[in-house]
């Protein structure tokens, strides 16, 4: 059942992005940046939390979920350590993903070459 929920929530978020892509001149880059920021806002306001509880990975895997994790971490850090925690909490929550993106991204880019377009 959690697979079906993940499919529906994740697919639904992607549909919203697709409609924006098709109806506006925004590029996928714009979408990534605005969705991560939107994820922070929705996460901070507590609006995203129910979606995560319902959709699981379907809500966490889209880049909105990365923003949600950053906001949740920063607020948790602020609660625990005050102002300093607000600065470090978000990065702590995102650390695994960011570190993975750096090391895997770099490695794959060095190993592989772009495929010639056909």
């Amino acid at each position: 059942m959690d697979y079906i929920k993940a499919f529906i929530v994740g697919g639904g978020i992607c549909v919203i992005a697709q409609v924006i892509l098709d109806r506006t001149k925004l590029t996928p880059g714009h979408i990534l940046v605005s969705f991560v920021t939107l994820g922070v806002v929705l996460g901070a306001l507590g609006i995203y939390e129910p979606l995560v509880e319902f959709g699981g990975a379907g809500a966490k895997t889209p880049i909105l979920g990365f923003g949600y994790a950053l906001a949740k971490g920063a607020i948790k850090g602020a609660k625990a350590d005050g102002f300093l925690g607000a600065f470090s909490g978000g990065l702590e929550a995102g650390a695994g993903g960011i570190a993975a993106a750096i090391i895997f991204g770099y490695t794959m880019a060095v190993i592989f070459n772009p495929k010639t377009k056909d």
């Binding site: 993940a6 697919g11 978020i13 992607c14 549909v15 990534l32 607000a86 993903g97 991204g105 880019a109």
Partner: protein, 147 residues
């Protein structure tokens, strides 16, 4: 053909312009995005079964999905998924990995510092700036409003 006036020509040209495929795009985005999230749910469930706590499961899932996205981009497979899935491939965290590897590979000839390492962040950089920046603001605001 020579007898077409402006108005008729416009109608003729409009017919030749490919019809926008909004509905098809939306359906494909739903299927591809949904499928990627379902795979991520599988990874999460596996990590949970290994006894990791919720936070570690989330982080572990991100790491695995980023690995998959990077590898498939390197192999040239993710481009094909992206062509079919559109936003369904771009918005999940695998698309974030794709946005790192694709330009980094493309600019390799400019060297490993200003080519690969710098171009990795051409999209990921703004994502981190706005994501982390706004998370700090959210954290500070949470102090102001909760005391």
């Amino acid at each position: 053909m020579e007898n077409l006036n402006n108005n008729e020509y416009q109608k003729f040209a409009d017919k030749k312009v490919p019809k926008p495929t909004y509905l098809k795009n939306v359906i494909l985005a739903f299927l591809v995005g949904g499928a990627i999230c379902t795979i991520a749910q599988g990874v999460t469930n596996f990590l949970e079964s290994q006894g990791y706590n919720e936070d570690l499961c989330g982080m572990g899932t991100s790491i695995v999905m980023i690995f998959i996205g990077s590898l498939l981009t390197g192999l040239g497979v993710y481009d094909k998924i992206g062509k079919v899935g559109g936003a369904g491939a771009a918005v999940p965290i695998t698309g974030f990995a794709n946005s790192i590897v694709a330009p980094a590979m493309e600019f390799k000839r400019e060297g490993f510092i200003f080519g690969v390492a710098a171009k990795m962040f051409i999209i990921a950089g703004p994502v981190l700036v706005y994501g982390i920046g706004s998370s700090i603001i959210a954290g500070l605001l949470s102090i102001l409003f909760k005391g």
